[in-house]
């Protein structure tokens, strides 16, 4: 069926190569550089065939053990925020999908408006409030903040996914005398797993990568990986590029694997969440 002139096909391949280069090349270059000895890193033109070394990773491990604590902090915060968001958004999404009255419509509209506000604004009153509560530099603050900035989008996505489950299923269960908890447990949750995975992926990626709140609300105990990388980047003693690349690569690999594995859900969630929301 393909009857394109040869030069159009040629141009299409050039364009495709440009797109792949644009997306993938900076990342590939960084990962390769993390495996090079220091003097090779800035060599021009860059070498693509070289003897890889783990020296940068070893040095990261010995000179900046705090980075590994930060990775652990990131993991704790990310998992916490993900669980909090998915559970609360599924509950809300179910109600918004199945029930309607003026009060609910009002809260749903509030939810959509408030998700537009720039996050930096709320750091102004929250910073002293968090200090007054003695919660500065704790995992809990970031868990709650990250969850808050995703419950709105995610409730909306869950609503859209639950809308696709035939109402007759849960109505029949209710007629049979099932409680709301049972309806959720045996009808809604099993049939909206796709949506839950999509929403979980969004919060997970966001929390794993977030910079602004971590920068403002953590100083040592709950510091996340992106924050430690940013400190390495702005180190006054000059940047140790090899070690920096090693750290950035370690932060990036797990999340990119996750995104690629869950690609289908990311696409479905983005489509449902933005186009229908």
């Amino acid at each position: 069926m393909n009857r394109r002139p040869w030069w159009v096909s040629g141009l299409r391949y050039v364009a495709l190569a440009a797109v792949l280069l644009w997306s993938g090349f900076p990342i590939l270059l960084m990962i390769l550089a993390s495996l090079k000895p220091d003097r090779e890193i800035f060599r021009f033109p860059p070498s693509f065939i070289f003897r890889p070394t783990l020296a940068n990773y070893v040095e990261l491990f010995t000179s900046r053990p705090a980075f590994f604590d930060a990775l652990l902090n990131s993991l704790i915060i990310t998992v916490g925020a993900t669980v909090l968001t998915v559970v609360s958004s599924t509950l809300a999404g179910y109600v918004y999908s199945r029930y309607r009255n003026t009060a609910l419509a009002g809260t749903a509209f509030f939810m959509i408006v408030i998700r537009m506000l720039p996050p930096i604004i709320i750091t102004l009153p929250l910073f002293p409030a968090v200090n007054a509560l003695g919660l500065q530099d704790t995992h809990l603050v970031l868990i709650v903040l990250y969850a808050t900035f995703f419950v709105s989008l995610n409730s909306w996505i869950m609503k859209a996914f639950i809308d696709q489950i035939p109402r007759e299923l849960d109505e029949a269960a209710i007629v049979d005398g099932a409680s709301t908890v049972k309806v959720l447990r045996y009808v809604i949750v099993p049939l909206s797993v796709q949506g839950m995975i999509a929403t979980a992926t969004f919060v997970f990626v966001f929390s794993w990568n977030e910079f602004l709140f971590a920068f403002i609300f953590t100083t040592s105990n709950a510091k996340t990986a992106p924050l430690v990388i940013s400190e390495m980047l702005s180190s006054l003693a000059g940047i140790d590029w090899g070690v920096l690349f090693a750290a950035a690569t370690l932060q990036f690999i797990p999340i990119v694997v996750l995104v690629i594995l869950l690609q289908r859900f990311v696409v479905a969630g983005l489509t449902v969440g933005s186009v229908k929301g």
Binding site: R100, P118, L124, Q251
Partner: protein, 289 residues
């Protein structure tokens, strides 16, 4: 089915988080913006003084202008690229799943790592792209010193990070255009350009508007890219509204003024989102009847 108390309880966690963490603090910032105070001081009511001071501050207008330039450049470059990529992919590419995975990868990169990657290539004198430009005799990049170079790099980084989002929105919309429309266009003898202007583009408009809205609202908050790359410098020449706010709140501790900046940002955001919010409001109202 009637809404029961239990159902309100089920939306409560989401609503409470939004109310306690965003809603109430935002209103508090509105009040704070009308006062002059710093940590450990009594707030003094000063009316609209903070707003008057901001509007008279040249640094504010520079931050505003920079944000305006960055947001518009990012949003439209991204949109054009997303449409191009979507059409390319919709026309059929080999190994489609793998290609889409590569296209999506920057979505998983945080802004700190993106700055690391791009600085590596753009570092003055030693970066790969800098050296490449010098080798072919083009003027070199000097983003640590030159405002326009810096703004260009910031836009570049931002587009790189967010192109996957915009592309997915446009691409899925492109895939949902019925194939019959293209067959009809072909039967009528439409050229490639005619097909684009009379079939593809009009059918993509709803998705384009959504992508534009979200990208405007989100690009407007830009902080990390600017802070990590230039700290708003040199001499405030690349400051954006979010870094300007940060400086006033966490460096100068002028909380009243910072709050006023915050509300300027909030109102601007809501104005940008207004067409969308009105549409959502109408739809909800009609569903409720």
């Amino acid at each position: 089915m009637p809404v029961r108390f239990f159902h309100y309880l089920m939306v409560a966690p989401v609503q409470l988080l939004l109310l306690v963490i965003i809603g109430v603090p935002s209103l508090f910032v509105l009040w704070q913006g009308l006062t002059e105070f710093s940590y450990g001081q009594e707030a003094v009511f000063v009316g609209l003084d903070n707003y008057r001071n901001i509007l008279a501050d040249r640094a504010f207008w520079r931050a505003f202008t920079n944000t305006f330039i960055i947001v518009n450049a990012v949003v439209y470059v991204e949109l054009a690229a997303a449409i191009g990529v979507s059409l390319l992919f919709a026309g059929g590419v080999p190994l489609r799943r793998l290609m889409i995975a590569i296209l999506l990868v920057p979505y998983a990169v945080n802004e700190v790592t993106a700055v690391v990657m791009w600085r590596f290539m753009l570092e003055p004198n030693v970066g790969m792209i800098t050296q490449l430009l010098e080798t072919v005799g083009l003027p070199s990049l000097n983003w640590p010193i030159d405002r326009w170079h810096a703004l260009t790099v910031i836009v570049l980084l931002s587009v790189w990070l967010h192109l996957p989002f915009t592309t997915i929105i446009i691409y899925t919309a492109r895939l949902s255009i019925p194939q019959e429309l293209y067959e009809a266009a072909r039967t009528d003898g439409a050229s490639g350009w005619q097909t684009f202007f009379y079939v593809t583009f009009p059918m993509l408009i709803p998705a384009i508007l959504i992508a534009l809205l979200f990208r405007y609202v989100f690009a407007f908050r830009i902080f990390g890219e600017v802070w990590l790359l230039t700290r708003g410098g040199p001499a405030g020449s690349t400051e954006v509204l979010a870094t300007y706010l940060y400086r006033h709140s966490f460096r100068y501790l002028e909380l009243g003024k910072a709050s006023a900046i915050g509300w300027v940002m909030l109102v601007t955001t809501l104005l940008m989102a207004m067409p969308y919010l009105r549409q959502v409001y109408k739809r909800m109202l009609s569903q409720n009847e």
